[in-house]
Symmetry: C2
Subunit: 329 residues, 2 copies
């Protein structure tokens, strides 16, 4: 594909053209260097119109019912007059394949809704690359008028942090099961949540869900989760029956009511943007270093010497840095 | 000071000469470029003799009684035939000043003990610099025969992570007070602990300490803290009366009994060393980039454009990287 003209594409995005939105995201996700300049021009054009949304990150262990929840939640939010975009960060999507079909069939009713836009995780080998493209897709969706952005973690481990670092509110979905299910999540992730929902508050599990919620509430209070402005609420819901879904959206509204006037969201976004810039700079520098022919030969040896304790990490780092930086004129 | 001969200094360190130990650490902590080569030579010489210790990181909110605990714990451990070194990571020590005197008077009995070595936090402006020097001081202490290394966090915020990243076992000291006290700690830090002790299990607070311990135990279990091999124990102690101090040391022994045969400690150390090398490389590259005259002029503008949402972080990062990397021949 040749890069489309970014300005006319941008105008169509702003006009609400869904095909243009999809093409714009494809452009932003493109790994081809000749697309990058057009993508940058497009983002620059759209940026003044981006940002007017609430960005909600959602994570939870496999089996918690994330897709069912996002579908029920998204439909509720649309019913309240909003436009909802669902994005995902899944560094494994290339390997598992077929995630476009997967996402669409997972959320059938939502995907048919004109006020919803569902975009699977961009393919990519590194979490950094996937996260970067999801962040930029988020800006495009905002410019297209989507005022509720849901970013879902699909992979496990690091992707939770990446999603928390690009959203205003981080929502953790839990099962009524308790402690053992959390072993699969990154350590410390529970304490990063802004809102916790125990799903499957229905049928035989209703009592367990209520009990789990009150236990999590006590635990999070004990661990000092949240901030002086915002005590992390723990509620229950049933994505299957719709119970508690409206209340979950009300809690998001309460979060905005607290965090927007206090400047909490604006501060978080400014910090996220700065941290993102520096993380891109660091990763770009490390890639350049690894691509240096001298370093490419030397790094594997340094790495194993350091891991085996034969060389101090600081000495190995100085060695690598000197070899790289003396290459500069 | 001119740099001492690193090999003869190293020999004296290995022979157990305390003045040599102090001088060796001073050399390793020196920020003077002409000391760096001698420090590297010294570390290279000592490295084969380092590593034979248990490295214990200790954190807790101000007022929890860290110094009193470390003194009681250190004296107990020495009584069991060990040699104990106490180091600290406190990025604020330069500003507050006088931390040498502070540390020594805080732990008077321990500091008089021939089998103890107490070293205050190196002065330094950045956490990274302070942490690097503490890591290297730890290696020197190990080579000098100290087989229990305690690394204390003094500052708040990031220093907890730095200490967790250089130790085998991360011990969190808590007060009987509960949730609110934890607001001062970095989010997620409770879930990083390998061992939790509720201090002040004495006098009027004894009942509250026991209750707090059982609440923390339930909360950590619920949050899935620890691993399949190691469920994080929560115990109580009184640094003032000595109650529970022996049991705390026994828990450290249990941790070793589980984590040494399983290779858990060796794996953690290898990962820490690798991560440390890469973090030094990244920071060194960023320092070089910031020192570039073109970038030094351009970065403040990029930073504020990114924070204000006028430029995407990725575009700003590419801009900075291009300016820097094209400077390479």
């Amino acid at each position: 594909m040749t890069a489309p003209d970014p300005i006319s594409l941008g105008k169509s995005v702003l006009a609400g053209d869904r095909r243009a939105l999809a093409r714009a995201i494809t452009l932003v996700e493109s790994a081809r260097p000749d697309h990058r300049a057009a993508a940058d021009r497009l983002l620059e054009y759209l940026l003044p119109e981006a940002g007017r949304s609430i960005r909600i990150g959602i994570t939870g262990v496999p089996g918690v019912g994330k897709s069912t929840f996002i579908e029920a939640f998204g439909l509720h939010v649309i019913g309240r007059g909003h436009k909802v975009a669902v994005l995902a960060v899944d560094p494994s999507s290339r390997r598992s394949g077929g995630s476009i079909l997967g996402d669409k069939t997972r959320m059938e009713d939502l995907s048919r809704c004109p006020d919803a836009f569902i975009r699977p995780s961009p393919a990519g080998e590194t979490l950094g690359g996937v996260a970067r493209r999801t962040r930029e897709a988020m800006l495009v969706c905002e410019a297209a008028g989507f005022d509720v952005i849901i970013v879902e973690t699909v992979g496990v481990g690091q992707s939770e942090t990446a999603v928390a670092d690009m959203t205003d509110l981080f929502l953790l979905l839990l099962l009524p099961g308790g402690g053992d299910e959390l072993q699969g999540l990154k350590r410390g992730i529970v304490e990063m949540a802004d809102l916790v929902l125990v799903n499957k508050d229905d049928g035989d599990l209703a009592a367990a869900a209520q009990r789990a919620a009150s236990e999590y509430r006590a635990a999070l209070h004990l661990l000092g989760a949240g901030s002086a402005d915002w005590r992390v609420p723990v509620a229950t819901c049933s994505a299957a029956t719709g119970r508690g879904i409206g209340e979950a959206w009300d809690l998001v509204g309460k979060f905005r009511d607290v965090m927007e006037p206090s400047g909490g969201i604006a501060t978080r976004r400014a910090e996220q943007a700065r941290a993102w810039m520096w993380s891109e700079i660091r990763e770009g520098l490390v890639m350049a270093l690894k691509a240096d022919p001298v370093l490419a030969r030397r790094l594997p040896g340094l790495d194993s010497d350091v891991a085996a304790g034969r060389v101090t990490p600081a000495a190995a780092a100085r060695d690598a840095l000197e070899a790289f930086l003396t290459g500069r004129s």
